[in-house]
Amino acid sequence: MSNFSVTTPSKRQKWVAGILVTLYALITLMPLVWIIMTGFKSSADSIAYPPKVIFSPSLEGYVNLFTSQTRLTSEQVATTPPPATWYDKLVRSHQMVIVGPSRFGQRFLNSVIIGFGSTFLSVSLGTLAAYAFSRFKVPIKEDLLFFILSTRMMPPIAAAIPIFLMFRELGLSDTKLGMILLYTGVNLSLAVWLLKGFIDEIPFEYEEAALIDGYTRFQAFYKVVLPQAATGIASTAIFCLIFAWNEYAFAVLLTSGNAQTAPPFIPTIIGFGGLDWPAVAAGTTIFLLPIMIFTILLRKHLLRGITFGAVRK
């Protein structure tokens, strides 16, 4: 029968489509592969002409990313003890010496704390609110989608003006708590919307049965509804995490030393004599790789968040 089906594409069609899509995917991949490769190049190789596809790998970029260094004069070279570790040796070959860790580790840690903190908060508050919106009559329910859309219309820079002033008044400027609360506020409306969709799909009969068995509302909520909504909660969490992880505009305006995250920091990594591209590429790789792996592992669950929950499967 399938031979006569009008909706199954022919073999030739599949081949042509496959080749074209593969070609596009490879073009898409090229910049990403290039930046990962650059992280393993030496400074000279990173700006070689023509661009080097085959090169001898070096960890110089990664060492430069994580350490701060200073240049030695020739007399100082004679007096300092010989390098002890492989990274000391690598740095010393450029007449430099490691004086301590760089700020990258701290910035990366800030990204982790703020990312996970705000995700945890948005998902917990979001689940409670979504449950209430899904199961009870709450007056503002009907306006929710409209509300989400309209908060997303405000350019982040515009929203940053009053938030900058508010944080200054409350002493939240350049604190991790401030950033966690801010990202939670930004993510929350979307989280509630996505979660409400997931909870709506859980049949009410389950809870009803639990209530008749003598559970209280709270027990029914966390013993019946929460386990059922776990997948939905997880995919909402990934979506919130990606937003907080990637956010730049608020981070660059509202943080500086203490709570700065990685996105505003990475472009400012400079070595001696201009931008140290291998180090920038190394930082970019470390920062982007978790998200790439997440995307590949969790591709099925991400779709709903990406399409704003507007496209229901």
Partner: protein
């Protein structure tokens, strides 16, 4: 609606039991659950909006705290609307917006259509194509600056390889005529997958029997494409355009890292311009009025668009 089974259960059971079913009153739980969310949304979304509107009528400057704040009515708005520089940034934004939407819709739909041929391995390639849109726009903008480098950048080298144009003879982010296209290219690379995913969902929602019926009627493939595929995908495509349109109207992070608004102010989109006014020149009141104008513009355009979208859906 959803609470009606509960209500029924409560009605038919005797009083004391009804109370235990309800536990804490439903209304109480509802408010308890919703309250923290409402509070945060008010604090982070609504309150700042109201404050911005208030500031837009004043001459407040955030870097001069002690100074007296004067109420100056509509002066800020008058100044903005008569400023030629602002119209220039609006033009840059319009150029960016229209071309990115054009390319993303064209490529995104084509890709979705091809992927829907369900060839072997389409899942894997789809995931790879989706990768760029998950990444941090600021970091992406920063590393594309490296790819666009005139002498050593990969992009210029690839252009030279395929067209023979000397790679050091042009600079994507340094030349006034090329910079607006440089940002369009990166945004298209990054966000085409979004349009593709939504189109794909649209294509997959078309029931097979429509095509079968059309074949029975001897409609050509070409005709089927225009009378079934396109009209069925159109609402999805329009939704994708709405989301991308809103996002690109407020574009900041990618472009500020890639070109910083330059060369000159040729790629200075409204958000970048707004950032200069608010956080470099510290004209807070003026910038607030600017923000309100931008918000009203997007809001107005989006409302009109949603009306059109609903009409398409009804058909």
């Amino acid at each position: 609606m959803s609470s009606s089974p509960m209500e029924c259960a409560a009605k038919v059971t005797p009083r004391p039991l009804a109370n235990s079913i309800r536990g804490l009153s439903d209304r109480g739980i509802a408010w308890l659950f919703v309250a923290p969310t409402i509070f945060l949304l008010l604090a982070i979304n609504i309150f700042p909006l109201i404050w911005t509107i208030y500031l837009s009528f004043t001459n407040f400057r955030a870097n001069r705290i002690g100074r007296e704040v004067k109420f100056i009515g509509l002066r800020n708005y008058e100044r903005i609307l008569s400023d030629p520089d602002i119209w220039q940034t609006m033009q840059a934004t319009a150029h960016f917006l229209l071309w990115t939407l054009f390319f993303q819709v064209l490529i995104g739909f084509t890709l979705a259509w091809l992927i829907n041929r369900k060839f072997k391995g389409n899942d894997m390639w789809t995931t790879i194509i989706v990768l760029p849109m998950m990444l941090s726009p600021a970091v992406v903008g920063n590393f594309w600056k490296f790819l666009y480098h005139p002498q050593t950048g990969l992009f210029n080298y690839v252009v030279q390889f395929f067209t023979g144009v000397d790679s050091s003879s042009f600079s994507m982010i340094g030349d006034v005529s090329l910079a607006p296209w440089a940002i369009v290219i990166v945004d298209t690379w990054m966000w085409t997958p979004f349009v593709m995913l939504i189109c794909l969902a649209g294509l997959r929602s078309i029931p097979d029997y429509l095509y079968e019926a059309a074949s029975v009627d001897r409609a050509s493939k070409w005709r089927q494409f225009w009378t079934i595929t396109i009209p069925m995908v159109l609402p999805f495509l329009m939704l994708a355009v709405l989301f991308r349109g809103i996002e690109n109207f407020k574009m900041f992070d990618l472009v500020v890292q890639l070109t910083g608004g330059g060369p000159g102010s040729i790629t200075e989109l409204t958000s970048i311009n707004l950032k200069r006014e608010a956080f470099e020149k510290w004209r807070t009141g003026y910038a607030s009025a600017y923000a309100v104008i931008l918000f009203v513009t997007v809001f107005g355009l989006a409302s009109i668009y949603v009306k059109a979208l609903n009409k398409v859906k009804e058909r």
